[in-house]
Symmetry: C2
Subunit: 324 residues, 2 copies
């Protein structure tokens, strides 16, 4: 199955403690696509200006991203500029945002895009997210969405409509709390689920993600890296790996969602190793599999086998090896 993503494509100027770059290829739909395209077919809907470089269009095509939905409008491409104080994505200052052609973005889906079974509504105006959903010929099998504090604070009602219409909500943990007006993260996620979505993915930056479903919570750490070059795009790359894996396997079971979470985390761990999405471009299967295994090693411990117990000392002081 293939995935449709609607979001931003733009140029980022980034400075981190270890690297910096100007007019780097960025945007939520870019990161999402380059991640998801490693697992499945992906079509991107976004807008760029006349200054968007041919080389970047070619780059997306070379990596098997369908860019037939990438509109080229009069004007300049969206630009964002930011600085990271630490390695963590949560410690960034936005220095400048120029919406440019993105300000007039009115996504209009091509007929073949309206039939996609997997849809990701990246972080754009919730009114547009809803319009995109309305343009689908039929309800996709799985709809994911992301958003940000700007919309939580400024367009709460429109956002609530989108949230009520999707399956999976991706938000930073602070946004989950802020939207739900509840400081306890699991309770906040469940409050969001009360509005419709069956799954909430709370992104915790360098602390990983919490996947909350009706009956279960899954905590995945971030893969610890020796050097984080540029945290930009980690969340969208995560979502791309997550949705791309699900679309590729069609496994929407609980186990499928957990694996998707790990694969999303693995993809996110790669993208932050370079400026822009460079590391995704050079990624090969061996590196992916090897890091998936390393992720297993990072999180695994000996569980209790049937009949095995933990050591325990009763209040009478007697040592009892629990064996129930």
């Amino acid at each position: 199955m293939s995935v449709l993503v609607v979001g931003s494509v733009g140029y980022d100027t980034v400075s981190t403690p270890v690297a910096s770059g100007k007019d780097l290829l960025g945007g939520s739909a870019t990161y999402f696509s380059l991640s998801a395209s490693r697992f499945t077919e992906v079509s991107l809907v976004a807008v760029v200006g006349k200054d968007f470089r041919e080389a970047h269009l070619k780059l997306l095509g070379d990596h098997k991203v369908d860019t037939s939905g990438l509109e080229v409008a009069e004007g300049k491409t969206f630009r964002w500029s930011g600085r990271y104080r630490h390695e963590d994505v949560n410690s960034r200052d936005t220095l400048d945002t120029q919406l440019n052609v993105f300000a007039g973005f009115k996504p209009k889906l091509r007929p073949e895009h309206r039939r996609k079974d997997y849809l990701f509504l990246a972080n754009i105006d919730p009114v547009l997210q809803m319009e995109v959903l309305g343009q689908m010929e039929r309800r996709p099998k799985l709809v994911g969405m992301d958003t940000m504090n700007f919309w939580i604070e400024g367009k709460r009602d429109a956002l609530a409509k989108v949230i009520g219409s999707v399956d999976v909500v991706f938000m930073d943990e602070g946004e989950v709390r802020s939207y739900a007006r509840e400081s306890n993260l699991v309770k906040a996620a469940r409050a969001i689920m009360g509005q419709g979505p069956k799954t909430v993915v709370a992104k915790r930056g360098e602390h990983g993600v919490l996947l909350v479903t009706k009956d279960s919570v899954f905590a995945a750490p971030a893969f610890p890296l020796d050097t984080v070059v540029d945290p930009t795009g980690a969340g969208d790359t995560f979502a791309g790996g997550f949705m791309g894996y699900l679309a590729s396997t069609g496994n929407l079971s609980h186990r499928g969602f957990r694996r998707a979470t790990v694969l999303g985390s693995v993809m996110g761990s790669f993208v932050v190793e370079s400026l822009s999405a460079d590391r995704l471009l050079s990624l090969d299967y061996d590196a992916l599999q090897s890091r998936f295994r390393a992720f297993t090693a990072l999180t695994s411990f000996e569980e209790l086998k049937a009949g095995e117990g933990l050591p325990w000392r009763g209040r009478n002081g007697r040592f009892e090896k629990g064996t129930k």
Copy 2:
């Protein structure tokens, strides 16, 4: 095997978003002991004043903590008062600290305590930590220590001596970074290990812990709770479960350390469910085992089986199910 802990016993006045209490039994050695005593014999060395209540002495004894090393000195018991802005232990403000008899604390170990095989140096003046270690008849099998920013900033040289003499360092993640003067957590932990310890446990509050050893990193999340009543003592309770488990099983292998980390996390998840250490007092084996299993469920996902591969799409666009 049994554990010796040297630290503080005191009275805490605590206010959190959901509860508050005055002159609650607290202190690092208290939390550590009440946690470790569920798994092994534990002896506590600390000082209290004449105002320390008989009921609390009895409580420790009832829970099989050896209090023969608890000195009762002229004066008042150590008191700490703090307020939590959120549920997380890392968001607390200290309102008041009265050292009282703790200011003159000079731990002098009884002969039977000098032969203990497991030693935990809770967060006290590193000069005293070193003196305690010097009083041991022989090097214990395993020595753990905790510290805080106050000593990192104020007694760095003395602290470095202690760190160079122990096996396991427990620190908040911010303290790991600050002591190592390195913002990357894994690099910072390895820098500390370069000074002697074979293991660093970086405590991340509501985000769990990172166990760093020579060849491996283990990330354990915190158990997500619907309500955190009082985060006080979570770190010492973690260390008590960790050291208590190791002392009980004698399993100092890599796998033993990972299980100890999980059991420490489980114990920490209980203690924050009530004010003071109340929840530890009522804990039974079934609750422990059940949460250990829940912790397994929280973190487990389907790993790659031998011969199984992840979905992968080559740069030529061909779908290849990886099967190496």
